[in-house]
Subunit: 216 residues, 2 copies
């Protein structure tokens, strides 16, 4: 049965989807800044993060207003708390995009990622971007099945992270310590973006079904 | 005026302080495992994390119960939400200790941190441990002034992180790529533990004063 609570909750989910779209832009731009050694684009990601932080505050205020106005009981209460967690995670994903952009900026006019590591890091970036996009679709569609697919993407990310370590710790690594450290940290940032995307999707599953998905 | 809400809130804060004490043990043990190349101790940190996760769930359940039972209005509502965020952050600090322990375990029987980097990484570990301990004291005492001191500790951590990068990216670095990557990631983990400790302390300030501290 629909009521004022659910209408307001829909509005909060619309805002979450909008923030997720902004995060997707941030991840994509940070990756372009990284691979094109584009300082201006990196700056856009860094300065653009304030808008994501502000949007987060607005969603939090709306969620708290909903809690205080409607005083929802157990199940609905947990849904609002899930929304609060989702917005925290989306904000963190924005912060992690800033970290990627800062590494890009630090190495301009050079590229932080040397040719020998381009494939693995590039794929990590692609997977992370796709996962953020999919998380946004899941927020909009409340498609529980799509969340399972997202967990499969996350397994590819874990595999890529291991491949990346093998590359940069192997005897063939010819790009020195600085590039290795940059790539290890970039890998960590993309991996965390992916983790948060899965977590956001899992919270949508919780909102729809009342249960968090078991790992599969 | 004291009431049932505040009594239950005190109980939640007692639980938060207990979790913070567990996190402190985890950070200390992970650091010992790292510097003593002690696989057994690393395993204790890794397997011990499940208890922190469980304690987190208990606090969340209590906080949600408090919300549903008391339906607190604006100010009190934000306090409960702050408690929910604190417990999430404490759990993340536990996860980060596990990451440190896993690097320690990966390099046994060797030490991940070579002698040339011992001082800076060791100091990062000390600062992180001290910050977790102080965060626990702040949760227990609700001492708003101590939270400001914690933010000063965090500045030392930022400085140590920069020093560490200078060391491992300098011409004098003689310990290879693997140690550099380990130290860059360890630095990230200790830095994040420190960030979360500051955030937990800032939330206590909010609970006591109704305002988040401005950066000083």
């Amino acid at each position: 049965m629909r009521n004022a609570f659910h209408d307001q909750l829909d509005s909060i989910f619309d805002d979450l989807a909008a923030i997720c779209a902004d995060v997707e832009v941030a991840v994509t731009r940070a990756t372009h800044a990284l691979f094109d050694a584009d300082a201006d684009l990196a700056e856009q990601v860094i300065s653009g993060d304030a808008a994501i932080d502000l949007a987060r505050e607005r969603v939090e205020d709306n969620a708290l207003y909903l809690l205080s106005l409607q005083a929802p009981v157990a199940g609905d209460l947990r849904i609002v708390v899930a929304a609060l967690r989702m917005v925290s995670e989306l904000e963190r994903m924005g912060d992690l995009s800033v970290h990627v952009a800062k590494i890009a900026r630090l190495r301009v006019p050079h590229r932080a990622v040397p040719a020998g590591a381009e494939q693995t890091v590039g794929r990590m970036a692609e997977v992370a971007e796709a996962m953020v996009r999919r998380a946004g679709q899941i927020i909009r569609s409340r498609d529980v099945d799509a969340a399972a697919a997202l967990r499969a993407d996350d397994e590819e990310m874990d595999l890529l992270r291991r491949t990346s370590f093998t590359e940069l710790l192997g005897d063939d690594w010819a790009h020195g310590v600085e590039a290795a450290v940059d790539i290890a940290l970039l890998g960590r940032y993309y991996e965390r973006i992916a983790d948060h995307a899965v977590s956001v999707a899992n919270r949508v599953v919780f909102v729809v079904t009342g249960q968090y998905p078991t790992s599969d």
